[in-house]
């Protein structure tokens, strides 16, 4: 079977898989960003309980394997009466895992905002919440964009693991096609190319664009 024939035969399934991967990616990224923001802020809190929650979250999800976390959510939580469908389990596991890395980026970026910015907004009598929302976070956001670009690509690649709990994503389809055709080079090669296109031609340009927009907002454009 030539490669064009292979694509004609199985292209539709790759597209289906790629759409599931895209959906997993978007949902996991959204969850990771929300978790990163909440946990990053909690980690900077002076309240020991709030800080403790963030430390436990970050240590657990950074300190153990994403694959084990995925299996744990899928096979162990039901034993405690918590059952999620596999699609939800997939993006939740990836999102929680990468959110833990993101939380450290958020914390680091907030701490990188010069002390003078806190003092100047304090001198204007701004409340701590207003200082964070209006002055500190917008600047921290700019500082953390480049490392977030890396993290988001890691997250895309992490979504390939959800195939192991039978979410019919791109990797799942590639394995199925390989299993029935034994055309490993074509089956997995096509998946590699699609992952690369996602990372290189969709995510990277988007992050670059976002960095440019944010730089312009600082008047540096």
């Amino acid at each position: 079977m030539s490669y064009p024939e292979f694509l004609a035969e199985y292209g539709g399934r790759y597209i289906d898989g790629a759409l599931i991967t895209a959906a997993q990616f978007i949902l996991a990224a959204a969850l990771a960003i929300v978790m990163a923001l909440i946990m990053g802020l909690l980690k900077l809190s002076s309240n020991p309980i709030a800080k403790g929650v963030a430390v436990v979250y970050i240590e657990f999800f950074r300190g153990t394997s994403l694959l084990v976390q995925l299996f744990w959510l899928f096979y162990v939580l039901p034993l405690f009466g918590l059952t999620f469908d596999k699609f939800t389990t997939g993006f939740v596991a990836v999102g929680l895992n990468l959110g833990a890395y993101g939380a450290e980026l958020v914390r680091g970026a907030i701490q990188s905002v010069p002390k003078g910015q806190w003092e100047a907004s304090y001198a204007l009598s701004m409340s701590p919440a207003a200082q964070m929302r209006r002055i500190i976070l917008p600047q921290a956001f700019v500082a953390m964009l480049p490392p977030w670009g890396n993290l988001i690509i890691e997250l895309l690649k992490g979504t390939a693991l959800v195939a192991l709990i039978a979410v019919s994503d791109l990797m799942f389809e590639a394995r199925q096609i390989n299993g029935s055709t034994y055309l490993s080079a074509q089956a997995f090669g096509t998946a590699l190319i699609i992952y690369y296109i996602f990372a290189r031609f969709l995510i990277t340009p988007f992050m670059r664009w976002l960095e440019r927009v944010m730089a312009r907002r600082l008047g540096r454009g």
Binding site: E119, A123, L124, S125, V142, L218, G219, R220
Partner: protein, 271 residues
């Protein structure tokens, strides 16, 4: 524990000062930066603090902005305690909410300007009035444009700080602080980070403030000529205490204390 009953809940009488430091002590660990400082500043008075580095002069301004906590004594602004609040008839250290309200009568300009880089000059000035004072955008814009006009920055109002020179940034920072309508303005070495050729544009703005407004001002500076020109009083700090104070012509022209003489002659040589 300090006996707080010696401090009145508020200052009353005919001539309540705008600012009163009463027995204020500031320590960093074992190091005493300010030792039992008592200092009054009258309404509309311009007081300049000079002294060698490490003498505690910047700390005085930072304590008044409540950027530093104090270890002893009480600071009053406009007759009311700033660092403390009344509770059951005695003063106790102020909580965050009280401090937020109390410090709103004080404005401060910093050595490194600290403008918000993600906002234009105009947005920098409008931020406090809108977010803190609850002014409408229109009111805040009018007030800010008037102040930017006064500091000569109206034609740059839509520029971000990164596009402005140091002198221009500092003038915007002055407008930003004034937009809160403070009763007391603090200038902490506002010309120290500037290139020599732009110092004048900032000192001219402060000169205008002194001559045209009845603001109470405290300034820390190394510009001795400027301080002599515009101040009502000079305080020379040494080792966390006021070594000598008086009208500028007396202190610069006829210093009485040895340490003042040494400091002034050292500064003169460096000039």
């Amino acid at each position: 524990m300090e006996d707080m009953s010696q401090y009145p809940l508020e200052l009353t009488g005919a001539d309540v000062p705008m600012v009163r430091f009463m027995n204020v002590t500031k320590r960093y660990g074992a190091l005493t930066v300010l030792d039992d400082l008592s200092l009054d500043v009258a309404e509309g008075e311009m007081v300049t603090i000079i002294g060698p580095s490490g003498s505690g002069k910047t700390t005085v301004l930072r304590m008044l902005m409540t950027l530093e906590t104090i270890n002893g004594g009480v600071i009053y602004v406009d007759g009311k305690p700033l660092t403390h609040m009344p509770k059951n008839g005695v003063l106790v250290p102020a909580d965050a909410k009280y401090l937020r309200r109390a410090r709103s009568s004080i404005g401060m300009c910093f050595q490194h300007f600290n403008l918000f880089p993600h906002m234009t000059a105009l947005q920098n000035c409008m931020e406090g009035p809108v977010q803190v004072l609850g002014l409408s955008k229109r009111e805040a814009r009018e007030r800010s444009e008037e102040l930017l006009e006064m500091v000569g920055m109206i034609d740059k109002k839509d520029q971000h700080p990164s596009r402005l020179s140091g002198g221009q940034q500092q003038r915007v920072a002055i407008a930003r602080a004034l937009a809160m309508r403070p009763k007391v303005m603090l200038f902490d070495e506002v010309t120290s980070a500037l290139d020599p050729e732009v110092i004048g544009e900032v000192t001219n703005v402060i000169r205008r403030l002194v001559s045209e407004h009845n603001l109470t001002m405290l300034m820390v500076t190394h510009q001795m000529g400027f301080a002599r020109d515009i101040s009502d009083r000079i305080c020379f700090f040494y080792g966390g205490k006021i070594e000598e104070q008086g009208p500028p012509d007396d202190l610069f022209g006829n210093p009485r204390r040895d340490r003042t003489k040494q400091f002034l002659s050292a500064v003169k040589e460096a000039d």
